[in-house]
Amino acid sequence: MQALYAQLLVGLINGSFYALLSLGLAVIFGMLNIINFAHGALYMMGAFCAYFLLNIWGIGYWWALLIAPVAVGIFGMVLERTMLKWLAGLDHLYGLLLTFGLALIIQGIFQNYFGSSGLPYAIPDQLRGGTNLGFMFLPIYRGWVVVFSLIVCFATWYLIERTRLGAYLRAATENPTLVRAFGVNVPRMITLTYGLGVGLAALAGVLSAPINQVRPLMGENIIIVVFAVVVIGGMGSIMGSIITGFALGVIEGLTKYFYPEASNTVVFVLMVLVLLVKPTGLTGRAA
């Protein structure tokens, strides 16, 4: 039983990262119509940002949680302003190719300087150790990652679905021309939206640094799974991304316990099944 709970926890942790990443992808896709293949590289940059902050300036984890998403978000906004914005109105394929190329370049640069092995990033003192829940031992940091990710995901959901700012975002996703004709600076909103999505990816990177170490290619594997999550959840649905992210993490964890051989493929098998039955994804609106 201990092993089952342990795998469930691993599943929830992975689910947290899936949810944060697919949420950003969904927001970006909705507003920019771009399938952001650079998302994994930006997630990696978040982790590296935390690493640099600590090792160059001695700035610790808590500040990194704030600074890294902002810094990488700004980097993302520069990418949007200088490159992605020229793709408006073109086929999805262009955005996909451009962001894929960007991911290769960013990852290549980091790999050039830091190799492929992991750099250590220590768990902050306040979150060290663990607690015995009776049925299992819970490392505090892992519990923190799950709870904090849930809070961030639902805060993002609230921002988009329940606030005035979110109403602009939803409206501009539907009909950017008209929203602009009402006096809203839509191009600036698009840039900020990309920054928000990228910031969420960087935040996931910081959260993962103490668990998975900091590696130039850390985003490469996870992003493939995250795309499967997005396809299953339905492109462009906020709540769908969050729930599917956590659910697939848990399903993966359970598979590791019951049938470990399939644990790396279960997400993709599910993706194929969902695509066969409901091509728009579980919660997707028709494109």
């Binding site: 602009y168 409206a171 809203v184």
Partner: protein, 249 residues
């Protein structure tokens, strides 16, 4: 509605006859196709001016060009004395032009309240929510419905209501009566008259000139992307034969 703030705003446009909107040699293209071939017209403060013309004559394109939505446009559009032919549509909106598109543009992912609150305030003196509900009582009961679940008439009321909130005093309404029941057309006509009395300036596009005749001060006839004729409402009877030829009715 007879509210001091609105009455004050109504008095604001000076008695001078300087046009609030002045369009000269306006040309516009959709991709490769040349739609507007040099339009000239003017709208004075407090007027209701109607663009009449057949389908495809370029009426909607004219409104969209003034609003800055059509990408390629040349010529001159002056609003309140300022050249806006090169301005982006968000800037044009913030200068005080509000646009109600033909397809109404109600957002499906927003409820009625969010739709109403969506257009940002561009200046003081817009209608309050209560004043909008007084004009369109139906909206008040449907505030939490999804925007596109409303009937066609209610959607049109929502589309007009939401731009009245912004404080813009120059409204462009693209075929507000299209596809609506007579009783609703009547209600929209009364609304337009009331807005005119309160000093709003309105540029209207209509196919239905019987409706236009109940609200308009002046008409321009648009054909093949040009203004081919224009007359005041008082001259409508005298121009009836011409009008029938122009509109092919």
């Amino acid at each position: 509605m007879a509210d001091a703030r609105m009455a004050g705003a109504a008095a604001a446009p000076s008695a001078s006859s300087a046009p609030v909107l002045s369009v000269q040699n306006l040309q516009a293209w959709y991709g490769e196709s040349h739609i507007l071939h040099g339009l000239d017209f003017e709208v004075s403060p407090g007027e209701v001016v109607t663009l009449l013309g057949r389908n495809g004559a370029g009426k909607t394109t004219t409104l969209k060009s003034v609003m800055g939505i059509i990408g390629k446009r040349t010529g001159s559009v002056r609003f309140d004395g300022k050249e806006i032919i090169r301005a982006s549509s968000d800037r044009i909106a913030r200068m005080g032009i509000a646009f109600c598109p033909e397809e109404r543009g109600i957002f499906a992912s927003l409820d009625v309240r969010e739709n109403l609150l969506l257009p940002p305030t561009v200046r003081n003196g817009g209608l309050s929510m209560d004043q909008i509900f007084e004009l369109f009582p139906n909206l008040k009961e449907r505030l939490s419905s999804q925007g596109t679940k409303l009937s066609g008439g209610e959607q049109q009321m929502l589309a007009i209501g939401r731009i009245l909130r912004t404080g813009a005093r120059f409204l462009m309404l693209d075929e507000p009566t299209e596809g609506l029941a007579p009783v609703i057309i009547q209600q929209i006509g009364q609304t337009i008259k009331r807005l005119k009395n309160e000093g709003f300036t309105i540029l209207l596009v209509e196919q239905n000139f019987r409706f236009a005749a109940t609200v308009a001060d002046r008409y321009y006839i648009v054909e093949h992307g040009k203004i081919i004729d224009g007359f005041a409402n008082a001259e409508l009877q005298a121009n009836m034969d011409k009008l029938h030829t122009y509109l092919g009715v």
